[in-house]
Amino acid sequence: MLTAENTKKWMDSFYRKIEENKDYLSELDTPIGDGDHGNNMMRGMDGVKNSLAQLQDPDLKTVLKAIAMGLISKVGGASGPLYGTAFLEMAKKCSETQKVNELLSVALAGIKKRGGATEGDKTMVDVWSPVAQSNAITPKIIDDAIASTKDMQARKGRASYLGERSIGHLDPGAVSSGYLFTALLETEGTL
């Protein structure tokens, strides 16, 4: 169950993972993208941190919306509207349910709609989809999902310009999504 409190903790943990892996994410984005995914996510999470810091006693919906707006208004790259849309959709749904898997399902639907990608296109969808569909998220589900993008040929995003040459590299957005779900796993009280 998501609450305002544990969602903030989740974001603290995600922030630290992005901070630690900023250079790695940008490196992953270099052979098959434009080398900025780490910088983009860091800028976004700085935005999230600032938005959240300004809230006093917020409810869950306010927290989720602030996360969305922080990402949307700071990232700019493809990942911004995608992550942003995910949290926006969760914010819309959270008055109805606070169950993690139900919220992740609407988030996934939002990402798919915004970006037009589907499973197998070598994008973050390939991590969001198995995670959202599992009844119990495990490190293995996350890691397998990330690893599955390696052998895919990209059909969306910048990596798609490379055609077959995109095969053999992990998708950077899949890796950052992995951090998001690992952070979620580690946040007491969310699952």
């Binding site: 949307i72 208004s73 493809a78 509207p81 969306k156 055609g163």
Partner: protein, 331 residues
């Protein structure tokens, strides 16, 4: 990395400030954004607004084309990164004068999604918004199963067309129609001699050997379709022209507009030599362009290279739009 900058993370805000302060007669900054709107507000009254933008690093695009007869506003994202929806939305609001706003978007997933979200925001405010997604770069084979072709220098010609039409009082629907029919006739292809360095990254997006070039590179160091040893200007023209021809036959009874675009670090001397060879090879096909421009219009920071855009002027009106007078920094 050797650049005339201060802190890499501040290049965009300092650049935008430098631009609006250097050219207050053309540009005004929209408060709390990196978006810029035409200073000459009167020239927008009663007309459809035209908004463009994208990542920074393509100067003089896009703000250099803001002004009477061309863009109403432009939004500058981080270097090689789409601007965010809130900023685009601010530009839409500033450009709207009751007749709606037309967005010129380059086909990158980041740009498309961010502009899309901005459109959603504007529509909530009852601003009518339509858009064109420019995908003139023929380097990438088009396919339903990819992001599709990228938007590059042809975007500048698109700005000119829709800007002229808006200034002449065209409706939002007419402008959308114009943009769509023109887009199908605009093809661009580039060759790079060296790559750009994003200030925050600090190293070039790719490396080419001292005698190597790459065909089909995008404006953010996206990979092209072939690397080989540097060739003469004549042979580069042949390669690029044949690539264009495969996508759009060049016919002696058609009228063409041509844009030879420097990528940033390539001197005009080389661009003029390239143009000379281009005009020779078009002449071999009994073609003499009726409109031509040579210079740095859609750059990729300090990348060396040129792109060639050929615009088949199927509709007579288009040439008129290209020649329509404007007041901008860079057209």
């Amino acid at each position: 990395m050797k650049k005339i900058i201060n802190e890499p993370q501040h290049v965009v805000s300092e650049m935008v400030d430098g631009l609006v302060r250097s050219y207050p007669q053309y540009l005004e900054k929209i408060p709390d954004t990196e978006a810029m709107v035409r200073s000459d507000k009167d020239s927008m009254t009663g007309k459809v607004g035209i908004v463009s933008g994208g990542g920074s690093g393509h100067e003089p695009s896009h703000a250099g084309f803001v002004g009477k007869g061309m863009l109403s506003a432009a939004v500058a994202g981080q270097v090689f990164t789409s601007p965010t929806p809130d900023q685009i939305y601010a530009a839409i609001k500033a450009a709207d004068h009751g007749k709606g706003v037309f967005l010129v978007i380059k086909n990158y997933s980041g740009d498309v999604m961010n502009f899309d979200m901005a459109k959603d925001l504007a529509e909530l405010d009852d601003i009518k918004v339509k858009s064109i997604i420019v995908d003139d770069d023929i380097a990438v084979e088009n396919s339903l199963y990819t992001q599709g072709r990228r938007g590059v220098a042809g975007t500048v010609l698109m700005h000119k067309l829709v800007g002229a039409a808006a200034d002449q009082g065209a409706t939002l629907e007419e402008i959308e129609q114009l943009a769509q029919s023109a887009l199908a006739n605009i093809k661009t292809i580039a060759v790079a001699l060296s790559a750009a360095t994003v200030p925050e990254v600090g190293k070039p997006g790719f490396t080419l050997a001292d005698d190597e070039i790459e065909y089909g590179v995008g404006i953010h160091s996206e990979p092209g379709y072939r690397r080989e040893k540097i060739k003469t200007s004549k042979k580069l023209v042949t390669e690029l022209l044949e690539k264009i021809e495969k996508n759009q036959p060049l016919k002696s009874d058609h009228q063409y507009a041509v844009l030879v675009n420097g990528m940033g670090a390539t001197p005009l001397m080389e661009q003029y030599i390239f143009s000379h060879d281009l005009l020779d090879q078009l002449e071999d096909r009994q073609i003499k362009p009726v409109f031509m421009k040579v210079g740095n219009y859609m750059t990729s920071i300090e990348m060396a290279g040129v792109s060639l855009t050929i615009f088949d002027l199927v509709d007579n009106k288009w040439l008129e739009y290209l020649n329509y007078p404007v007041e901008t920094i860079a057209w």
